[in-house]
Symmetry: C2
Subunit: 362 residues, 2 copies
């Protein structure tokens, strides 16, 4: 890694493309002046926006691309149409070519994961990648994975996710030995699926130097911040994440309805508006925007497609941190000491990226 | 069914046993004077509490039992120790013997489900039971199942849950053809696990007279109340439920913290306290207490173990409604017209109740 952090941006990705990606990149640049951008996308559109942003322009190089991966492209479609020529592919390819240290895209998750897998390949010893997110908790944030890279997980994949999630947590929280829990439907050892039980037994047994394994956690433990890293397979992880987002919005809606019901409530709201502002900030999904693809030979960050510049900047920030604090070598160090499950990896079918059935969220 | 609703109570179940169950039963009785109780538990303790509650006493018959299923008993342990002799078993047995129309217990879920399965058996045509709950949404409540009866689900089990959940929703929401969605990690047909896709295709194709099938829903759609019935397998359902509970608590905690940070916020809070009270009521987990066991030859309701009398009364209320509005015959009517999945049922192993691995939450 050079002393600068070189970030490849899929400028055309997301619901708003350059209108959000470039202002977001500029916000992140003010926080990290040592970023240099490779901007992949429509050159004319990019130049137009950069014209009013000399600071961003000075830190950026534009690489024109013609093809845009659409938000509703199936992964297989995106690969067929966008391989080698789309802004998304080219941003990832810059990572493979070591021209960039990481890639950030607000494009369709399924396509981004498919391209990242095909192009960067999984790290030696890792069967399947995972997507990790930062989850706001009562104690700060936690790392939660997998939130949608693949469905189902063998015991070994759960162990690998514990290893990778702990490496990420070391960076984000600056702690030597993050606490790790496996998401399950009960805290008693007898419960849950075989794979989760087997992974739990192996992690407990191994007493890994980089993982303080704390056993099973349940859905309500995530928000309490009971552990630094919560590991689960991608179906339940994605459902948990979206359910939490939905519930937070629902509670905020209830509160607004209740306040709007009388003028005295509204007056109270005006007086306490500092508190409501603090609450809004706590719940701001832009703060924790940025899914980290773990297990690939390169750092790829997925931003929410519908976020604004502030949210996109958060995704760039997290990519910056993962590069600056050497995510990949930390994962490698953790892998070498990880336990092995007896069952081995999940069937290869679940990893196929060329079928329309690719099991990733978008 | 007699014109009275006869409810068998496991008086010893839950964290507080008779201290909560009996006062809760009395609250429900004031709302439904046509309830008659069979009280299974320690006669001396029950009599002591009934002494001060003549109205409840007049509506109740006490059946003494010596054995109590503990909250941390494994299902197999509970069956070994408690079969035929525990308050939990006897309450369920009263349903089998048609001495009661439903059983309500705040005891350990795993034990209750195991006993209910062994004693009542699954309904003809239904492979496995499920636990359904009422989930508060922006539009009112929705029925969500399975929230923890078993892990994993074949396409047929998902279809059967749609049938059973719709029957329950007809009662609870008084609508002819409830809307039903399958929980998935994306709304596009291409995504998700095979079983969910197959069940979705069969439900769409069948156009069942009792089910308005609306396709896939995601985690954040539950709280929006996008459909009346959300169907998923028990691992993700349990995680979604607990994650939502945890998130609601977390947001409420944030708000309290924010308000306590300054006196002006506190003053605002005092003025708007009506709004906060309304919010608290909306989020009150006691309101929606009561998991309904679906798919058995009898109605069994599981109350939260740690709830108070008000919460236990909600569980009795829901049992009352399920009996009064004929849940079982509605499910039977729905089953006869349900679609069949090509794959058939899940392996029988997942249904074993005699092993320590019984996959249910407690």
């Amino acid at each position: 890694m050079s002393s600068l952090v070189r970030i490849a941006l899929d400028v055309m990705g997301g619901d708003h493309g350059p209108q959000v990606v470039l202002p977001g990149a500029e916000i992140a640049l003010t926080r990290h002046p040592d970023i240099r951008y490779l901007l992949f996308g429509n050159e004319a559109k990019i130049r137009e926006i950069l014209a009013g942003r000399p600071r961003l322009a000075a830190a950026s190089e534009i690489i024109h691309t013609d093809v845009v991966v659409e938000m509703d492209d199936k992964p297989s479609q995106a690969l067929r149409r966008g391989r080698k020529v789309s802004s998304m592919w080219r941003a990832i390819d810059a990572v493979r070519l070591k021209e960039a240290d990481c890639a950030v895209s607000a494009g369709n998750t399924g396509a981004l994961m498919a391209m990242a897998k095909v192009n960067l390949k999984t790290m030696a010893g890792i069967g399947r990648p995972a997507i990790a997110c930062l989850w706001p908790t009562r104690r700060g944030d936690s790392v939660v994975l997998d939130v949608g890279a693949s469905i189902g997980a063998s015991a070994q994949h759960l162990i690998d996710m514990a290893v990778m999630g702990a490496a990420m947590a070391r960076i984000v929280f600056d702690i030597e030995r993050p606490t790790v829990g496996l998401l399950n439907v009960g805290v008693e050892e007898i419960k849950g699926v075989e794979e989760v039980k087997e992974a739990g037994a192996a992690l407990r047994e191994a007493d890994h130097p980089g993982i303080d394994y704390r056993g099973f956690v349940e859905g309500d433990d995530i928000g309490k911040g009971v552990v630094d890293v919560v590991v689960t397979e991608g179906f339940s992880g994605n459902i948990a994440l979206k359910t939490a987002e939905g519930t937070a919005r629902q509670v905020a809606d209830y509160l607004r309805d209740a306040i709007n019901r009388s003028w005295i409530n509204k007056l109270g709201y005006l007086l306490a508006r500092g508190a409501f502002r603090a609450l809004r900030e706590k719940l701001d999904p832009r703060r924790s925007n940025g899914g980290v693809f773990l297990g690939l030979n390169g750092v790829v960050i997925k931003s929410h497609g519908g976020t604004d510049a502030e949210g996109f900047a958060s995704a760039v920030d997290i990519g910056y941190d993962m590069v600056r604090y050497q995510l990949l070598s930390r994962i490698e160090a953790n892998i070498s000491e990880r336990p092995r499950a007896s069952g081995g990896d999940a069937p290869a079918a679940a990893e196929s990226v060329s079928s329309d059935d690719l099991q990733v969220q978008s």
